[in-house]
Amino acid sequence: MSAPAVVATDVTKVYRRFVHKNQWKTLKSALLKGSLLSDLRPDETFTALDSVSFEVPQGCTFAVIGENGSGKSTLLKLTAGITRPTRGTLDVHGRISALIELGAGFHPEISGRENVMINGIMLGLTREEITRRFDEIVDFAEMSAFIDAPVKTYSSGMYMRLGFAVAIHVDPDVLLVDEVLAVGDESFTRKCLDKIGEFRRRGRTIVLVTHSLGLAEKMCDEIAWLRKGKLMQKGDAKRVVDAYLTYVAGGEEALLAHEHGAPAALESGATAPEAAPGESGPGSSGYHEGRWGSRDVEIVEVSLRDARGQSRHVYAHGEALHVVLKVRAAAPVSDFVFGIGLFTADGVSVYGTNTHVEDHVCQSFAGDGEVRFEIDALDLVEGTYLVDVASHRRDGTPYDYHRGLYSFRVKSRTKDVGVWRPRHAWRFTGVDITPPQPRPELDLGDEGDA
């Protein structure tokens, strides 16, 4: 791993509360010392961030979670360089683009076209770069029909879409995202997430502030949890989210118990730590990512591969996908089932099966083994899919359940909808209709996982 993209060292941000009678004093101290704090008593200030230190490695997708007012947005603004830390340093390497407020700086009176140019320049592009990316930006925003109308005539969704499109096409090394994924309708949100996912695969660094724990855990390599300006935990996405949820559910004591009970559960994934066998799965409501089980039969490694055995993340529709599990049993077991589940990004089950329902009879397993689940053709429409893998007893008691921890994308040129694309053909009699021209192979580029 190369040098970190973001390095925060002891970052403290103190806001002064707005006290009118101190106006002169603060101005004076700002002028004399370049600092706003020295003359103020502590009760007039508000510490938004308190000695926060962390590093975001290059290529890492990093989420910041926490309650409202925990300092998340302040941290993002500091990272973006919009404000400066009161103490400590925050260094960012590479070009930043911040999706903090979309379309900030759009001028209502002039056309979308001109605003795209100016917004792009504001975000650090040159005129030539914008001209080159202009069509792409407009296409992405789905705005080609309105691009020459003044921005004041846009709907708020159009406004946001255009703002997002410009910001994302700045092609930054470090992308900062602040809860702006709720732009426009479902399909556009998906498009935004896909674009962010593409960034990820291209090895760019993303820092994301979000309240959506599911999103954070799914997309991010690491998560930092802030509470009242202090960094509570940082590290593996799953672990931090678990700790956060435990805290939210039961407060501090539960957190401590959790910490002692399950030390660094997933830190490496190579060892099988003790996890309470009674630890149950996620609640029946909704789809929550996670991992649980006794680990008597541990799934040590999961990889998604194409027909040639290449580990990949993006597949063309109709390609083969092999799910390869490396499994290990510390002690011999005779009651075991391996299962696979496929879900859409919204958590809708696409398909689920296991060795038991397909009448495989387990005999014995000890030591290391490999389980392959081979799908000959992904007859799915374009989208992101999540994979569950599991080992458990025949009665369902989990050994090792990985819920939604793996994902792949299916790309397709056809804009069909739904989940499943059955193998099909159109036949016409007495209808004059031209069949589609043959299209070039879908180029998956360098998006395959290394």
Binding site: A30, L31, T83, A98, E101, E109, I110, I118
Partner: protein, 264 residues
């Protein structure tokens, strides 16, 4: 202070593409939706000229020597640059607050904003110039010295930039400035030889000399109206003041920069 000055200039040079596009946006957006559109750039100074011309010729005739005849032409030479000066400062006082979104939400070099207001108003000044030149030509005042108006123009630019930086940053902390500034500029207007010639008010001269805009104005009037340009020394003094104003503005802006995102 010198280093902040250099840094500020470097920043502005670095963001010239941004400044350029913001200025052109400003010009495009200003009269969007109005009937006369761009014509307002010409009509505005003409109307101002007409107002002051009527008032000070017929209602309250100023004491003046025949050297300022024709008075309308003389007045035009001063009104045009003064409009640039005062609108720049008035707009600069509110520009950071009205663009608060940019400063708070985007990594944006805030100093660009007051600079853009000054340059956009300079452009309006530029649009008015052809009319002024036509008027000068018509009244027979146009001489080669008109080219020398570049000198007072540059001094005024530097002075206005400095004051705009200063005022824009300070207004964020003291919104009161926005209210008082209009009156200050009014007083300043009358303390600058725009409506009258410097030579016609000997009693006021010691006071007027302290005003850098006096020298700038004399510079314009000499170059454009009188057709002889001798006020070099005064203009040089004004240049030094302008340089100081720019440095002070840049310094204050730099000092307050961190507070801007929090206060606007």
């Amino acid at each position: 202070m010198l280093s902040t000055l250099v840094r500020q200039v470097a920043t502005l040079v670095r963001y010239r593409a941004l400044i350029q596009s913001l200025v052109s946006r400003e010009l495009k957006a200003r009269y969007r939706g109005s009937l006369l559109g761009f014509v307002w750039s010409f009509v505005n100074p003409l109307l101002l000229l007409a107002t002051y011309g009527l008032v000070f010729t017929y209602m309250l005739p100023v004491r003046r020597s025949p050297q300022t005849d024709p008075y309308f032409v003389f007045l035009f030479c001063g009104i045009l640059p003064w409009t640039w000066f005062s609108s720049s400062l008035l707009e600069a006082s509110g520009v950071l607050i009205s663009s608060g979104n940019l400063i708070k939400k985007v990594l944006f070099p805030a100093e660009v904003l007051p600079v853009v207001t000054v340059l956009a108003n300079l452009a309006h000044f530029g649009f008015g110039l052809p009319i002024l030149l036509v008027v000068l030509l018509w009244s027979g005042h146009l001489s080669p010295t008109a080219l020398l108006m570049v000198a007072p123009l540059l001094v005024q630019l530097l002075l206005t930039l400095g004051l705009a930086l200063f005022i824009s940053a300070l207004t964020v902390h003291f919104r009161d400035i926005g209210n008082i500034l209009g009156h200050v500029l009014h007083l300043w207007f009358f303390s600058t030889p725009v409506l009258y010639a410097y030579d016609d008010v000997p009693a006021l001269q010691p006071l007027l000399r302290l005003n850098p805009m006096t020298h700038v104005m004399i510079g314009y009037q000499e170059a454009l109206f009188f057709g002889h340009f001798v006020h070099w020394r005064g203009l040089l003094a004004a240049f030094l003041v302008a340089l100081f104003a720019f440095a002070a503005g840049a310094w204050l802006f730099e000092r307050l920069r961190d507070t801007l995102a929090e206060e606007v």
